[in-house]
């Protein structure tokens, strides 16, 4: 593991007002604050976080980074993120342990094979690296995957994105936080936004447990709680909040060389830098804010993992947990203005927003600085639920949401 820098960030009291107030100190809020200062020179910025910095989904995700999405709009924003990830340790002067070990998306049915090969072609047309592997090539790339034809759902092939991988989520958050702080951004922890200050249809600040704070513009980046917050400003968002669970094993010697995802038997597995096997699957079906899900979801994902990796049979589960993710009807994020003036929203990343962190921050900062969409986030505006120009990534994104 790399060394931590000796200084992280100040712990300031909030000022009476800022040019931009960002609600939510997860990866997206912190990246947005950093790019507001670094790309747009806006430094009277506060990030308000009700708990501790990056203690929400940023601390709970399985850190998979890839850009092999089907639709052009998604490929563009996630590939922009991947390019930023490739330079992020140097830019932020902090090793985020970005490991481009490759991501395999397994195919177990004829339909999976067709979807996968189609996605490889779509990715290549969009300049995203992608390959189709047959079962033998899968076994060569990841020798611990069970490619026997004698299982219920044999591996019929896989897509491979070699540039995809994982990063150390805490380091990512701390790196953005440290640089944003250095540029003058106030990162205020233990500060819960409880309401909005409005002048007609315009937001002019927020109410918090530490008192009112004025704001030229307010940007929500509160992941699973965005609709709760937005409703305080009278905005209804097309998102539903669901638990998403993950688990880790005890520490093991390096055995797992890449990231493996399977939609059909539904599990995804990688090995963390320290050695834990990190596993996740799909959301629990019901709406929830309880930061936990049901145990049968964990059982199913472990059964799937065992079928794919018989070698894991004796590994012990160390810890399971849940985060609250916000899912939109088309499984794509919402980044842009709301019907309330000066109130902007960044939400709906569902199960897959960690990989987008730098691009989410980059485009949201542009929107908060200029009041307008960046070309990369323009298609992800709230209006698409009225115009019908949906970006339907359910399944197409290579993961069932």
């Amino acid at each position: 593991m790399s060394e931590h820098p000796d200084r992280l960030w100040r712990n300031p009291e909030p000022r009476s007002g800022y040019d931009v107030v960002i609600v939510g100190g997860g990866g997206h809020g912190l990246a947005t604050a950093y790019y507001l200062a670094a790309n747009h020179g806006i430094r009277r910025v506060a990030v308000l976080e009700k708990g501790w910095l990056a203690g929400g989904n940023m601390a709970r995700n399985t850190t998979i980074i890839r850009s092999n999405y089907l639709w052009d709009e998604s490929a563009a924003i996630y590939e922009h993120a991947l390019k930023l990830w490739e330079g992020l340790s140097a830019e932020l002067d902090y090793d985020i342990l970005f490991s481009q070990r490759g991501v395999l998306n397994l195919a177990h049915t004829l339909q999976d094979v067709r979807e996968g090969t189609r996605r490889v072609n779509a990715n290549r047309l969009n300049g995203v690296d992608a390959q189709w592997l047959d079962p033998d090539e899968v076994r060569k790339f990841c020798p611990i995957v069970n490619t026997s034809p004698d299982v219920r759902y044999p591996v019929l092939g896989a897509t491979l994105q070699p540039r995809a991988g994982i990063a150390k989520h805490d380091h990512v958050a701390w790196a953005f936080a440290r640089k944003a702080d250095e540029l003058g951004v106030d990162l205020v922890q233990g500060c819960e936004v409880t309401g909005f200050l409005k002048d007609g249809n315009k937001v002019v600040g927020v109410e918090t447990n530490l008192g009112p704070i004025g704001a030229g513009r307010v940007g929500l980046a509160a992941a699973g709680h965005s609709s709760v917050l937005a409703s305080l400003a009278g905005v209804r968002l097309p998102v539903q909040s669901h638990p998403l669970q993950a688990l880790v094993s005890e520490l093991l010697e390096p055995v797992h060389p890449c990231v493996v995802m399977s939609n059909h038997v539904h599990v995804y597995v990688s090995q963390a830098h320290k050695g834990e096997l990190v596993m996740g699957a799909g959301i629990d079906p019901y709406n929830s804010y309880a930061q936990r899900g049901s145990v049968h979801v964990i059982e199913q994902q472990m059964a799937a993992a065992l079928e794919l990796f018989p070698i894991f049979a004796r590994a012990h589960v160390l810890r399971t947990w849940g985060g609250i993710v916000d899912v939109t009807p088309d499984a794509s994020p919402i980044i842009g203005p709301t019907p309330v003036d000066n109130l902007f929203v960044n939400c709906g990343w569902g199960t897959g927003g960690f990989k987008a962190t730098p691009a989410s921050g980059w485009t949201y900062a542009h929107t908060l600085a200029t009041g307008k969409a960046h070309p990369l986030n323009a298609p992800f505006a709230l209006e698409r639920f009225t115009t019908g120009a949906l970006i339907d990534e359910h399944g197409a994104a290579a993961v069932a949401h």
């Binding site: 609709s227 019901y286 309880a290 145990v295 009225t386």
Partner: protein
């Protein structure tokens, strides 16, 4: 795992059920007169409260009937 009260079969494990989202969302009375905004709202926007939520479940692996319950989304307690 949730223990869900089917009105016909009694308390059963969550694994027997299928989730149907918010309860009591009526089909528009005059669909032909709806604006694009209203259609968008009807199709895509549902309540998402942190607290009591009236929702639909189907006892898919049991009597196969649909029913509504009120469940607290912050605690998972079934209120009614």
């Amino acid at each position: 795992m949730l223990l869900i009260p089917c009105p016909w079969c009694g308390d059963r494990d969550e694994t027997e059920f299928h989730y149907g989202g918010q309860a009591g969302v009526p089909y528009p009375e005059r669909p032909a007169e709806l604006s694009d905004e209203d259609w968008g709202e009807y199709l895509f926007v549902r309540d998402n409260p942190k607290g009591p939520f009236a929702e639909r479940w189907s006892h898919a692996a049991g009597c196969r009937r649909w029913f509504s319950i009120v469940r607290d989304t912050a605690t998972h307690e079934i209120v009614r």
